[in-house]
């Protein structure tokens, strides 16, 4: 079956198609010359060998008559979007983008855009996916993707760095990123002491559109003015240095250390939980596992160490995600920690409400972990137990769920200032509801907390 990718329509150079599970891309005549150059100058091989770009090769395929030829790409294990990335992930994607652009300039090419959606993650390694973004560099041309780079990389990073506000919710509502003019309105005079902020935010916003009158400029005004290659290289390098030094504004040294201590702290219960997850993964060997409420990713790591192929983790704690991403990056494990709220998952959105996929379109996974997850949905979000079970089974047909009794100190803390309206919240009810829809393969109780671990399998129930 041939299906055009609903997110691939902006660039007339070519279109991505899904053909029986393969990723094919038609290339128009003009774009073909640029792709041939990308190939012949050695840049494609160089970037692919360095793991910075997905491979692309010509194939015989009859998809569209106006296509000059067709390229095939390897299929990526998972697609995620910049509004699902934590600060550290977005930063590594931004640095990759600048590095790819600098490498392109060395070979006489440039990038026609600077879309964050052109970067994906394999584990925690960013990879550039758009072979048709490369164009032969024309001497003295402007960096056409600069505004887009600021909106989709720089400004979201500055939001967290300067104001301790995570970019995710704003970016999710504004798919083209955070406008420089809007970020500029948030600045106070103390920010004006930074030359980088003055240049890339204040001055760019001042020179661009705002709410006032109008300055007419035309191509004639720009005339034969050029942006020298040396200036472009300098600009990219300076942005790289600035961005590589950016840190979240809400990360104090102590807080960061506390997380790390917490991460390495391994009590008897954590050990028992890891052993349960390991036993599950050794038996099931899921190619893709989703870890709901992944925190710093220690159980995903246990799963990957025991037979899971890849893991995608979801959490709402930005600091935990930054640690999870950094740890996965350092150890090179196939783990992608992402920002997400199970009570309000990423929707299908953008053009035709199909340009960017919702959570569930990107599943199902082969297995799911829901450790210290159910009570957050049930108590904090008042979600019904049966609905939570339905959610988990729709994510993956088999997995491990942790259920905390109401006496658990964490639940008691959640109930401290509110009425306990959760009469149904009980282990028996949860087990009964789960066994109506899945087989319980194994369960165990963690001591001393009394939390229960349940290994379920919904496939066997339906067969």
């Amino acid at each position: 079956m041939i299906e055009a990718d609903p997110g691939s329509f902006r660039d007339v150079a070519g279109t991505v198609f899904h053909v029986d599970g393969r990723i094919l891309r038609t290339v128009g005549k003009a774009a073909a010359e640029d792709f041939d150059f990308l190939h012949d100058c050695g840049l494609l091989d160089e970037l692919v060998a360095a793991g910075r770009m997905v491979d692309a090769w010509k194939v015989d395929a009859d998809i569209r008559q106006d296509a000059h030829y067709v390229l095939e790409h390897p299929r990526l294990p998972f697609i995620s979007y910049p509004y699902e990335w934590c600060f550290t992930a977005l930063k590594s994607a931004a640095l990759l983008h600048l590095d790819v652009h600098l490498s392109a300039l060395d070979k006489g090419m440039t990038l026609s855009d600077a879309s964050a959606y052109n970067v994906q993650f394999i584990g925690s390694r960013p990879i550039f996916i758009d072979a048709l973004s490369f164009r032969r560099y024309r001497q003295g041309e402007f960096w056409l993707g600069y505004r887009q780079f600021c909106r989709q990389f720089l400004n979201p990073l500055l939001l967290r760095s300067l104001f301790a506000i995570p970019h995710n919710d704003w970016f999710r509502g504004s798919l083209e990123g955070i406008p420089t003019e809007e970020l500029r309105r948030m600045l106070s005079p103390r920010h004006f002491f930074s030359g980088n902020i003055l240049t890339h935010v204040v001055l760019q916003a001042a020179l661009g559109p705002s709410d006032g009158g109008g300055l007419e400029i035309s191509r004639q005004d720009i005339g034969n003015r050029t942006f020298p290659l040396s200036a472009l290289r300098r600009m990219l390098r300076k942005l790289r240095t600035w961005i590589s030094g950016l840190k979240p504004g809400d990360r104090s040294g102590t807080q960061w250390r506390e997380y790390e201590t917490f991460k390495s702290y391994s009590d008897a219960e954590t050990g028992a939980k890891k052993a349960f997850v390991a036993e599950f993964c050794e038996a099931v060997r899921p190619a893709m596992l989703w870890d709901m409420g992944c925190n710093t990713g220690e159980f995903s790591k246990a799963a990957l160490d025991s037979g899971a192929g890849r893991a995608v983790g979801w959490d709402m704690d930005q600091n935990a995600l930054d640690i999870a991403f950094t740890a996965a990056d350092q150890s090179g494990i196939a783990f992608t920690p992402l920002f997400g709220n199970a009570a309000n998952p990423s929707p299908a959105q953008g053009w035709n409400q199909a340009e960017r996929m919702g959570w569930f379109e990107r599943g199902p996974a082969e297995a799911v972990l829901a450790l210290a997850f159910v009570h957050h949905l049930a108590i904090t979000h008042n979600a019904p137990l049966n609905g939570i079970i339905g959610l988990l089974i729709s994510i993956a047909p088999t997995g491990v769920i942790e259920f905390a009794p109401k006496s658990d100190p964490q639940i008691q803390r959640m109930l401290q200032l509110r009425d306990d309206i959760f009469n149904d919240y009980a282990m028996e009810n949860f087990s009964e509801a789960l066994s109506r829809r899945a087989r319980i393969i194994k369960s165990g109780t963690l001591e001393p907390s009394g939390r229960k671990l349940i290994w379920f399998d919904a496939r066997e129930a339906s067969s």
């Binding site: 056409l144 109008g214 300055l215 003015r225 200036a231």
Partner: protein
């Protein structure tokens, strides 16, 4: 006072225009900023554009001025 007025005009003035050759609109601010970063000659062009804007502001009577329709 005049300097403040000039500065205000400078900051308030939006500038439509699209010198792109690609599918992406690079944005006026982005291009003008690169002209400034590109060196003295480019910066001079940007100053000239704003000077023209300031002159036309004073040449046109307030009642006659029309809001740009783009």
């Amino acid at each position: 006072m005049r300097i403040i007025l000039f500065a205000a005009i400078f900051v308030m003035a939006p500038a439509p225009g699209d010198p792109a050759h690609a599918y992406l609109d690079p944005g006026t601010g982005s291009i003008l900023l690169q002209m400034i970063l590109g060196g003295a000659a480019g910066a001079a062009v940007v100053l000239k554009l704003y000077w023209r804007r300031i002159i036309s502001f004073f040449k046109s009577a307030p009642g006659k001025r029309q809001k740009p329709d783009d």
